[in-house]
């Protein structure tokens, strides 16, 4: 019985690790700005769509890339997408940060409305270019397919995805903990006044963190695309664990964010075992429950989000 749950648990862990990438990027941004970027999910989706475009094939942009590109092996195109798409999204992310600047000293309602608007615009842009049909991201055969182990069918891709995500998380951790730039980001997440007092250019830091955070989201989007499918609103579900992490008060706690994301992933995975149609709903219910119960959630100190 329990054994049959294993593939679902593996799914859950995979999802959780990918959620963690999204949540970590989100958390770093929120920590530095005390404003929530509702467009984070759309950037996740944009990453997947851009990867789709770069890999080529049947996507809307495919025909423009030319025959030479398409004749390259899928593995090359996929690897290129994995590198280029997140970078492109990071640029868009920086654009969003620049837009947000005007709202920093206003009523927080405007920041919310702005990022909500940005999310809508991004989604509309995606719909305009790619329409609302479902797409499939082609993956190299080395990571696709399945295998049988202990009488259960396992998907190769999930293991690859989990491994990739875990590596990425580790790299992010190394960056934050072991590099001077990472230290600045960490400090900024805790106390951005201090960082400014130390002479660090806060706006450049913000720009970088935005780029970094959205890059992670895009990466997660590309990896998740073969599992979830590519639809214009795929990003909405992906940010819920990120919201949850923030509400639970996880800003500044790296592993707290990872654990919370893993729990979300497992919840979906397990829900998938019993009521697969409704599995995604579970994280929304969890978000409602947590936000309701968590009276004075965030930050310990009273934050701008506490309104």
């Amino acid at each position: 019985m329990l054994f049959d749950l294993l593939p679902h648990l593996v799914n859950g862990v995979t999802l959780g690790l990918l959620f963690a990438l999204v949540a970590l990027g989100f958390m770093l941004i929120v920590g530095l700005m005390e404003q929530i970027n509702l467009a984070h999910g759309s950037l996740f989706a944009l990453g997947a769509y851009l990867a789709l475009a770069i890999v080529g094939g049947e996507s809307a942009i495919g025909p423009y890339l030319g025959g030479t590109w398409h004749s390259l092996p899928l593995g090359v195109r996929y690897a290129a997408a994995l590198v280029i798409a997140p970078l492109l999204v990071a640029v868009v992310g920086m654009g969003v940060e620049v837009l947000m600047r005007r709202t920093y000293d206003k009523d927080p309602l405007f920041g919310l409305l702005l990022t909500f608007g940005a999310a809508m615009v991004l989604e509309e842009a995606i719909r305009a270019v790619w329409t609302t049909r479902d797409y499939v991201l082609q993956i190299p055969s080395v990571v696709s397919g399945g295998f049988i182990f202990q009488d259960l069918i396992w998907s190769t891709y999930r293991f690859y995805a989990a491994a990739f995500a875990a590596t990425a998380i580790l790299l992010v951790w190394l960056f934050i903990e072991k590099t001077p730039y990472g230290a600045v980001i960490k400090a900024g997440a805790h106390d951005n006044e201090m960082v400014r007092a130390l002479g660090i250019n806060l706006s450049r830091l913000r720009l970088f963190v935005f780029a970094f955070g959205t890059l992670l989201a895009a990466l997660a989007g590309i990896i998740l695309a073969p599992i979830w499918g590519i639809r214009p609103h795929m990003g909405v579900d992906a940010v819920v664990p990120a919201f949850l992490v923030i509400v639970l008060g996880g800003v500044g706690s790296f592993w707290g964010a990872v654990v919370a994301s893993l729990l979300c992933g497992m919840l979906i995975g397990l829900a998938g075992a019993y009521a697969s149609e409704w599995s995604l709903l579970s994280i929304y219910l969890l978000l409602i429950a947590v936000t309701t119960v968590r009276a004075r959630g965030l930050f310990g100190k009273k934050s701008l989000l506490e309104a």
């Binding site: 929530i36 509702l38 837009l99 005007r102 709202t103 927080p108 309602l109 405007f110 919310l112 409305l113 702005l114 909500f116 608007g117 940005a118 999310a119 809508m120 615009v121 989604e123 509309e124 842009a125 719909r127 305009a128 214009p232 609103h233 909405v236 819920v240 919201f243 509400v247 149609e277 409704w278 995604l280 709903l281 929304y284 219910l285 978000l287 409602i288 936000t291 309701t292 959630g297 989000l305 309104a307």
Partner: protein, 341 residues
């Protein structure tokens, strides 16, 4: 929103009367204007939705990003009541309003002690939950295929029976509903309750310390707003003769936010209606040139938030203020006593 000195003891203001008179004549000239009667129906239905929505956003200052849920609940309830209870117009409309009101009341239990981002997140989560149920509960809602064959039920007034299958007659029915909602909400926003909403928006803490039961006021306005959205949803289902889950999606909930704000819902009672006009006219005019008209409207919305959050109504007010100053420069500029325009 600044308080209105024109809140009169009479039922309607001159502005409302003029507008209603104008709208009453629409079917006579709309085709000559190059448009079509159904557009009129849509404008009125969305206006009802937006006016109801603005109670929460513009008046109480609460960012509800999942309002499509109540619109959708109203739409589905109308259809389901028609199939499951009785094909009586009044009954089905009532069922829709009650269902949406109930949904709103339940959600209000969770959101009423919040503001800002927490409020927004909760409304998004609930919106998604409702949308999810609409898509997955195939047996009741028809899932992604939607609820079809919803009929335009006739108006039974005892002595008379008005058939609503034609767009023109439907227009007049919706117009009647719109007029009632418009007048009712106008009186509401100028009443003590309306003032309290605006006070809550400006400074919720202060209102609490002044002895008001802020939680109850927020819960009440949210529920009322949901009910009105549900009414609009029911009319929509009747107009379209179907109900689909996508009206409950986060994306669609975003449309009503954008319309309301762009029109000037943050500063004017008429903002939502202006926004609806702007939205639907953009759709029909710019939409003929490109299918990406929504993208451009979204960009417009972002621009408005950044540079002129008072929206179109705010612009109109600036222009009329400037004109007033220009044409009567001798008068001392009395700080704006907003005539609710």
């Amino acid at each position: 929103m600044l308080p209105s000195p024109q809140a009169s003891p009479y039922l309607v203001t001159p502005t409302i009367a003029t507008l209603l008179l104008l709208l009453a004549t629409v079917p006579f000239w709309i085709e000559r204007a190059g448009l079509y009667p159904y557009l009129g129906v849509e404008i009125l239905i969305w206006s009802i939705y937006a006016l109801g929505f603005n109670l929460v956003l513009g008046y109480a200052g609460l960012p509800s990003f999942g309002h499509g849920a109540y619109f959708g609940v109203g739409a589905y309830a109308f259809g389901l009541a028609q199939f499951g209870l009785a094909p009586n117009l009044w009954l089905c409309l009532l069922a829709a309003v009650l269902a949406a009101m109930l949904a709103g009341a339940i959600v209000s239990l969770f959101v009423s002690h919040r503001r800002g981002i927490y409020f927004a997140l909760l409304t998004i989560a609930f919106g998604q939950a409702f949308w999810f149920v609409a898509i997955k509960w195939h047996s009741v809602t028809g899932g992604e295929d939607g609820l079809l064959k919803i009929a335009r039920l006739p108006v039974e007034l005892g002595v008379a029976r008005v058939d609503l299958t034609s767009n023109v007659s439907l227009y007049y029915f919706v117009f009647a509903v719109f007029a009632l909602v418009l007048i009712g909400l106008w009186r509401l926003v100028n009443s003590p309750f309306g003032r309290t909403l605006q006070a809550i928006r400006q400074n919720e803490t202060r209102v609490t310390f002044l002895g008001y039961s802020v939680w109850w006021v927020k819960a009440a306005v949210f529920t009322l707003s949901a009910a009105i959205s549900g009414l609009a949803g029911a009319l929509f289902a009747m107009a379209q003769m179907s109900a689909f889950p996508d009206v409950m999606s986060l994306h669609h909930s975003g449309y009503i936010v954008m319309m309301t704000l762009v029109g000037g819902g943050l500063v004017s009672f008429w903002g939502p209606v202006i926004g609806v006009f702007a939205f639907l006219l953009t759709r029909d005019i710019i939409g003929t040139y490109t299918t990406a008209w929504m993208f451009w409207f979204g960009l417009f919305f972002v621009t408005v938030v950044l540079f002129k959050p008072e929206g179109i109504a705010g612009l109109i007010r600036d222009v009329s203020d400037a004109a007033a100053r220009r044409w009567s420069p001798g008068r001392v500029a009395v700080p704006a006593r907003e005539p609710g325009e």
